[in-house]
């Protein structure tokens, strides 16, 4: 396919440095903790924060697993993916799930908030959460398997948020 001619677009507004957009791609507990700690802090500092959850990151905003009315391939995926934010694995030292157990124990003892709690406080602070509709479709995740208050969005909406934000992170 030959390259198409360039598109003429209207001039865009300057990115707003009070806005931060984060793409939460990773479903690893450690990376989600980093992502959500930053989102919470930014919101606490009065920034307008949007998190776009895509692919493995969707686990952070899942509340349950549903099997009924799903094609069997989707059911297999549902079986293999974490049911909610409290059962995500880690990027290193996962050790078949022993790592997260160990870390969650340590974090509880040291009073460090987990992924699920950080999602809750982020919502309370007004962080906008968007679920990638394509990821939901590929992974067979239905809207009622996600927590309340999550909007749906696509890549174009995400690009618009990124272009309008002073800072954008991909975690």
């Amino acid at each position: 396919m030959s390259a198409l001619p360039r598109m003429d677009i209207p001039p865009s507004a300057l990115p707003d440095d009070k806005r931060i957009t984060i793409v939460a791609f990773s479903g690893d507990m450690d990376k989600l903790l980093a992502c959500l700690s930053l989102a919470n802090s930014a919101a606490a500092m009065g920034r307008e924060v949007t998190i776009f959850f895509t692919f493995w990151g969707m686990s952070a905003i899942r509340k349950r697993k549903a099997y009924s009315k799903k094609p069997w391939l989707d059911r297999i995926l549902t079986f293999m993916l974490p049911a909610h934010a409290s059962s995500v694995g880690m990027s290193r030292m996962n050790m078949l799930g022993a790592g997260p157990l160990f870390f969650r124990h340590l974090m509880r003892r040291k009073n460090v908030s987990g992924v699920a709690q950080l999602v809750e406080t982020a919502q309370a602070l007004g962080v906008e959460m968007i679920a990638c509709s394509m990821s939901m479709d590929v992974m067979g995740i239905q809207s009622d398997e996600l927590i309340e208050g999550v909007h749906h969005g696509g890549a174009a909406a995400c690009v618009q948020d990124i272009c309008g934000s002073g800072t954008a992170l991909f975690i």
Binding site: S37, S41, A43, A44, M45, K110, N111, L125
Partner: protein, 71 residues
């Protein structure tokens, strides 16, 4: 003066809770926050700078104590 006790909380919770409380207060009110999170000093300084709230003073030590005037 309103007292906020965030001793034992870990980052980012002292700042998150502080932000939640500040929103309920009137402009000009002063709050005193106590925290043991070692980063609280730098964090509350950055928070005050970026939110426009005034950090009146900051005591460091085992327990960090900050007095903040709501913007």
């Amino acid at each position: 003066m309103k007292q906020l006790d965030y001793k034992g909380m870990q980052c980012p919770m002292p700042i998150v809770h502080l932000s939640m409380e500040i929103r309920k207060l009137e402009s000009g009110e002063v709050v005193e926050v106590e925290a043991t999170d070692k980063a609280f000093g730098v964090d509350v300084t950055a928070w005050a700078e970026m939110t426009g709230n005034r950090l009146l003073d900051l005591e460091t030590g085992e327990v960090l104590r900050a007095r903040i005037q709501v913007a």
